[in-house]
C-alpha cells in the first residue's frame, strides 16, 4: 500500500477508491503535487484548472459515499488532448488561432467520462491542429520525452503519451489521424489504441481530416486502455459516422494463444532500426512460443500508404480549416481592412508553419487541373490499400509490425525536413486509410528509449487486440514502467 499514487494503474486506483479509505480528492491532490514537480520538465500539460479538478473530485467522493459510484473510473483522473472539447476549459489545439477559445460545450467523450464518474483532468499539449509527429509544432510549448528529455515524445498526441510516462496522470485521451496516438505511445513506452473508424463519436473533436480522425484511449497498461475504451465507445447521433447501437458489437476476443498473426513481408527490413527490429522480432517469437500461428502476408501496395495519406489528409485539412476566418471565433487580425483582408491576415497570423504547409498542399491537390492526378488517384489508391488489408485480415487475425521504424529522435533533429517526419507514420497510416483498429504496445528498448510494436485487426476486433496485448503484458510486465524524473 506504500507505492506513490502516481505509479498506480487506473484500475488499481479505481479499486482503492471503491474500497476506501483513498478519496478522489487525496488522489487528485497527490497528482497536482506531481504536476508541480514534473510538468515543467516534460511540458505535457498546457493547462490544469486545479479548482475545477478538486471540485469534481469532491463531487465524486460524495457520490461514492452515498453508494452512487458510477463504475471503475469513478474518481479517476483522465487528461484530455487539447483538441477535444470540455465545457469551460481551453480548446486551443495548441494553436495561436484558438489561443483564447474556451469551449462552450462538452465533446461526446467528455459526456461519457462524466457519466463514468471520471475526473476531467487538464489539457494536454499536441502538434498544432494535430499536424505533426513530434509535438514540436505546438504554438504553446515543447513537450519532451520523459525517458530522455533531449528527445521528442512523438506526436501529435505527445502531451498525452508524455503525461502517462511521467506519472502525471493514469489515463489520457488522444486523437489519431495517421498514427497520432500510436506513434507517441511507442516513443514513450505506453499503450495507445486507435479504434475502428466509427466506434467512438468525434462530436466535439476539432476536425483535421474527417475520413481518418478517431479519438482513442492511452494508458500505461492494457487493462487501463480497455477500461477507458469501454467508457468512451457508444452510439451518438451527433456524429453521423459513429456506429448505431445495433452495428457496434465487437468480435469476441477468443483465446489469444490461438491467434493467427500475419507479418507483412518486408516490414522489418528497409529503414527499421536494428534494435527496433530485434525487439519486434522478440515479440513475434513470444507469440509463437505461446502457440500462436505466425505467417508472412503480402501487402503489395504498402509503399503507397504515405503519399496516399498525405494527399487525402491535407485535402481534407485544407477544407476543414477553411472555417478559421476570424469571423465567428478564434484569432482576428487587428489590422483587418476588407473582409477578405481580415480573413487572409487572421489566418496568416493564427496558423503556424506546418499547418500552412498542409493547407497549401491540400489546396494544391484539390485545385482545378490537379485534383484528378492527386486527390482522385489517392482515393483509388486508398481503395486498393483497404482491399489488400481486408484480404490479409481474412486469412489472419492480426497484423504485427513495428509501430515506428526508429526510436524517438532528438528535439529539432527533423524540424527542417517535413518529408522525413511524414515517414515516421509509415506503419501506422494504413489502419487510418482502411478504418481498422490498431494498438501500440511497449516491447523493449533501443538504448534507453522505448520501442513499441503494432497490431492491426479487422473492423471491430478491438477485443482481440486487447487480448493479444494482455497476453504480452502478463509475460513482460511493462504496465508498471515509468520514466525516472
Amino acid at each position: 500500500m506504500d507505492e506513490p499514487l502516481h505509479t498506480l494503474s487506473a484500475a488499481e486506483l479505481g479499486r482503492r477508491l471503491a474500497a476506501g479509505p483513498l478519496t478522489s480528492r487525496a488522489l487528485c491532490e497527490a497528482l497536482i503535487v506531481r504536476y508541480h514537480a514534473v510538468n515543467k520538465k516534460v511540458g505535457a500539460f498546457t493547462h490544469l484548472d486545479e479548482g475545477d479538478v478538486l471540485a469534481q473530485a469532491d463531487a465524486s467522493d460524495v457520490r461514492r459515499k452515498a453508494g452512487q459510484g458510477r463504475g471503475p473510473l469513478e474518481g479517476v483522473p483522465v487528461a484530455i488532448k487539447d483538441n477535444i472539447a470540455v465545457k469551460g476549459q481551453p480548446l486551443t489545439c495548441s494553436s495561436q488561432m484558438l489561443a483564447s477559445l474556451v469551449s462552450p460545450y462538452d465533446a461526446h467523450v467528455s459526456d461519457r467520462l462524466r457519466a463514468a464518474g471520471a475526473i476531467l483532468y487538464g489539457r494536454l499539449n499536441m502538434d498544432e491542429f494535430a499536424m505533426g509527429s513530434s509535438t514540436e509544432n505546438s504554438a504553446i510549448q515543447k513537450t519532451f520525452n520523459p525517458w530522455d528529455l533531449a528527445c521528442i515524445p512523438g506526436g501529435s498526441s505527445g502531451g498525452s503519451a508524455a503525461a502517462l510516462a511521467a506519472g502525471l496522470v493514469p489515463l489520457a485521451l488522444g486523437s489519431d489521424t495517421g498514427g497520432s496516438i500510436r506513434q507517441p505511445a511507442s516513443h514513450c513506452g505506453v499503450v495507445g489504441l486507435k479504434p475502428t473508424y466509427g466506434l467512438i463519436s468525434r462530436f466535439g473533436l476539432v476536425a483535421f481530416a474527417s475520413s481518418l480522425d478517431q479519438i482513442g484511449p492511452m494508458a500505461r497498461s492494457v487493462e487501463d486502455c480497455e477500461l477507458l475504451l469501454c467508457a468512451l465507445a457508444s452510439a451518438d447521433a451527433r456524429d453521423m459516422t459513429c456506429f448505431a447501437a445495433a452495428d457496434r458489437a465487437l468480435t469476441p476476443a477468443g483465446d489469444a494463444k490461438k491467434l493467427r498473426i500475419g507479418i507483412p513481408k518486408g516490414f522489418l527490413g528497409k529503414g527499421v532500426g536494428v534494435e527496433v527490429a530485434a525487439a519486434v522480432t522478440a515479440a513475434i517469437e513470444f507469440y509463437r512460443s505461446q502457440g500462436c500461428a505466425i505467417s508472412e502476408v503480402e501487402l503489395p501496395s504498402a509503399d503507397l500508404a504515405v503519399p496516399t495519406y498525405y494527399v487525402v489528409a491535407t485535402a481534407e485539412a485544407s477544407s476543414n480549416l477553411g472555417r478559421y476566418d476570424g469571423v465567428r471565433y478564434g484569432h482576428r487580425s487587428a489590422t483587418a481592412g476588407t473582409p477578405v483582408e481580415m480573413m487572409t491576415t487572421s489566418r496568416s497570423e493564427g496558423f503556424g508553419a506546418e499547418v500552412k504547409r498542409r493547407i497549401l498542399l491540400g489546396t494544391f491537390v484539390l485545385s482545378a487541373g490537379y485534383a484528378d492526378a492527386y486527390y482522385m488517384r489517392a482515393l483509388r489508391a486508398r481503395s486498393k490499400i483497404r482491399a489488400e488489408y481486408l484480404a490479409a485480415l481474412a486469412t489472419v487475425d492480426v497484423l504485427l509490425t513495428p509501430t515506428v521504424p526508429t526510436p524517438a529522435f532528438k528535439v529539432g533533429e527533423k524540424a527542417a525536413d517535413p518529408l522525413q517526419l511524414y515517414l515516421e507514420d509509415i506503419f501506422t497510416i494504413p489502419a487510418n486509410l482502411a478504418g481498422l483498429p490498431a494498438i501500440s504496445l511497449p516491447c523493449g528498448k533501443s538504448g534507453h528509449l522505448p520501442v513499441g510494436f503494432h497490431l492491426v485487426g479487422a473492423p471491430l476486433s478491438e477485443a482481440k487486440l486487447l487480448a493479444a496485448g494482455r497476453l504480452f503484458e502478463a509475460a513482460h510486465g511493462f504496465a508498471h514502467q515509468q520514466a525516472a524524473l
Binding site: 483587418a336 500552412k356 490537379y370 483497404r386
Partner: protein, 96 residues
C-alpha cells in the same frame, strides 16, 4: 515533378499571406513532397473508388430541433460583436 506549381496562386486560394522567404521555403518543400507523391502517378490502381463503410450505414437521423448555444454564448466567443450580433468589416460599399 508537379508542373505549373504556382505558390502565389495557391496562397491566394488558401487565403494566406506569405512572405518572400516563406514562398521560397514552401515552394521547395512542396516540390519535394509532391515528388514523393509521384509513386501514385506510376501505380496500377483500380478504376473505381470503393470506400464503403465497414458496417452498414444507418446515417440519417430525424430532423428535430436540438440544443443550441444561444446568442449570448456565440457572441461571447466572437472576436467582435455589437448589439447581440457578430460584427465584421463592411462588406457592401456605399455605392453598391
Amino acid at each position: 515533378m508537379a508542373e505549373g506549381f504556382d505558390i502565389d496562386h495557391l496562397a491566394k486560394l488558401a487565403r494566406l499571406n506569405l512572405t518572400a522567404e516563406e514562398k521560397v521555403l514552401y515552394s521547395s518543400q512542396l516540390n519535394q513532397i509532391l515528388g514523393h507523391f509521384q509513386a501514385l502517378a506510376k501505380a496500377d490502381l483500380p478504376a473505381t473508388i470503393d470506400l464503403a463503410r465497414v458496417v452498414s450505414e444507418s446515417a440519417l437521423r430525424s430532423d428535430e430541433p436540438g440544443p443550441v448555444l444561444g446568442a449570448e454564448t456565440v457572441t461571447r466567443l466572437a472576436p467582435a460583436s455589437r448589439d447581440g450580433q457578430i460584427s465584421v468589416p463592411r462588406v457592401v460599399d456605399d455605392e453598391a
